[in-house]
């Protein structure tokens, strides 16, 4: 049976925990705001990029000699899974839900006889996946030192992926990240980036049909554009991830704070009852003693 002192200590420790979770929640909220505005600022670029890509892809079409980055290598034997997660934990199901999606996909691919390679961006996802896929994991990309994800980070990752592609180390690349919907909802998403899935240009047939002149020519522009598109997609994923991570952490910490509050209430109640019981016992003892005289 816990003594009064033990109870008092427990209450103090839960209170300290609550303070920490509360602070983490506020920090996450501030970071979320920044991450969201970064994601918003990046949106125009990637939207334009999609439109331009769609335009050129339709122009070049399925013509012979379309670059491999657009048309694919013609086989789909080796898959690269690019799993982007956070560097830190304590953010609810954020890391594990991305890792889970990647794991399901990896198992599925392996079951159908494909070769799978996994490149993790962020330590947390790698920790989860390592237990099962250690043999096929590539060295993880570490962004722990990076405070705010910049385009330069994405373009470094893209360079690595592209040089692997040039060496024909894989045929298809899929990117796993978490799409930010709101503070309470982040959707783990898988997106194929090589070869890219060209989005339909938002329904307006005339802009897609505009006859463009190209300078130098389509193929050269495309050769320049495709690697850049990979970097842009990765950048977008990293930004979405950053916002999702903070959102997930915010709601996780909010829950934790609330739980700690409930626990403090419960413990305080027990503490008060116990103290009252002790006082009563002492009183009874004194009275009994006095009567006995």
């Amino acid at each position: 049976m816990a003594s009064l002192k033990d109870l008092r200590n427990r209450i103090a420790s839960v209170k300290a925990t609550q303070k920490i979770t509360k602070a983490m929640q506020m920090v996450a909220a501030a970071k979320l705001r920044r991450a969201q505005s970064a994601a918003e600022a990046a949106r125009p670029y990637s939207q334009r990029m999609d439109v331009v890509m769609a335009n050129i892809a339709t122009a070049v079409g399925d013509s012979e000699g379309a670059p491999k980055l657009l048309a694919g290598t013609g086989s789909d034997k080796v898959h690269l899974l690019l799993v982007a997660t956070a560097e830190r934990g304590l953010c609810g199901g954020f890391n594990s839900s991305i890792a889970k999606l990647a794991r399901v996909k990896a198992r599925e691919l392996m079951a159908s006889g494909k070769e799978v390679k996994i490149l993790c961006v962020g330590k947390k996802g790698a920790d989860v996946l390592r237990s099962e896929f250690d043999a096929i994991m590539l060295p993880i990309v570490d962004l722990r030192e990076v405070k705010h994800v910049g385009y330069i980070n994405a373009s470094d990752i893209a360079k690595q992926v592209l040089s692997m592609f040039d060496k024909e180390e894989f045929d298809v690349a899929t990117l796993f990240y978490s799409e930010f919907q709101s503070v309470i909802s982040q959707i783990p998403t898988a997106q194929q980036i090589i070869p890219p899935q060209i989005a339909d240009v938002e329904g307006d047939a005339d802009s897609a049909a505009t006859l463009y002149d190209y300078e130098p020519d389509e193929n050269e522009i495309l050769a320049d554009l495709l690697p850049r598109n990979v970097a842009v997609q990765i950048f977008r994923a990293l930004l979405e991830n950053a916002a999702s991570e903070q959102g997930a952490r915010m709601s996780a910490m909010d829950n934790a704070t609330r739980n700690a509050g409930e626990m403090i209430d419960k413990l305080t109640q027990t503490f008060n009852r116990r103290r009252q019981a002790q006082i009563t016992t002492e009183l009874i003892e004194i009275i009994a003693g006095a009567e006995a005289l």
Partner: protein, 138 residues
């Protein structure tokens, strides 16, 4: 007076400029070009260099851009640049950083067989060296 059209300059991290302009000069892959309204649809990749625009309100503005495209359509002109800074923020440090990147690129292809890329990177470095004195007050 020429008609105005919409111009946007976007980099991956932000939208730098969006507005009505009457003329834009971009460093196209095959030479600088001035674009006015009702230009034929054209897509061009860009050399590193200065993009300058004559805004309807606010006069002339120029930006240093590296790596990107200009998409000229009836709806307006969009420049997608991998890296862009306003001329006013162009400092020695920015140049140094760009030169470092260019040098890295050259090194990366040093042993490779890809002569095109090597040549491109080298041209870029030359261009930077050439531009620096004209843009930066000594």
């Amino acid at each position: 007076m020429a008609d105005d059209f919409t111009f946007e300059l976007v980099s991956p991290e932000t939208l730098l400029l969006s507005g009505e302009v009457d003329i834009v000069t971009v460093p196209g892959a095959e030479g600088d070009m001035g674009i006015m309204s009702n230009h034929a649809p054209l897509m061009t990749s860009l050399r590193p260099g200065m993009v300058s625009v004559n805004m309807k309100e606010g006069g002339e503005q120029s930006f240093f851009v590296r790596g990107g495209f200009a998409d000229i359509s009836p709806a307006g002109v969009t420049v997608l640049a991998e890296f862009a800074v306003p001329k006013a923020e162009l400092t020695k440090e920015v140049f140094a950083e760009q030169k470092r990147l260019a040098q890295e690129e050259i090194d990366a292809h040093a042993e490779g067989t890809d002569e095109d890329k090597k040549a491109n990177a080298r041209a870029f470095l030359d261009q930077l060296n050439h531009m620096e004195p004209t843009l930066l007050p000594a």
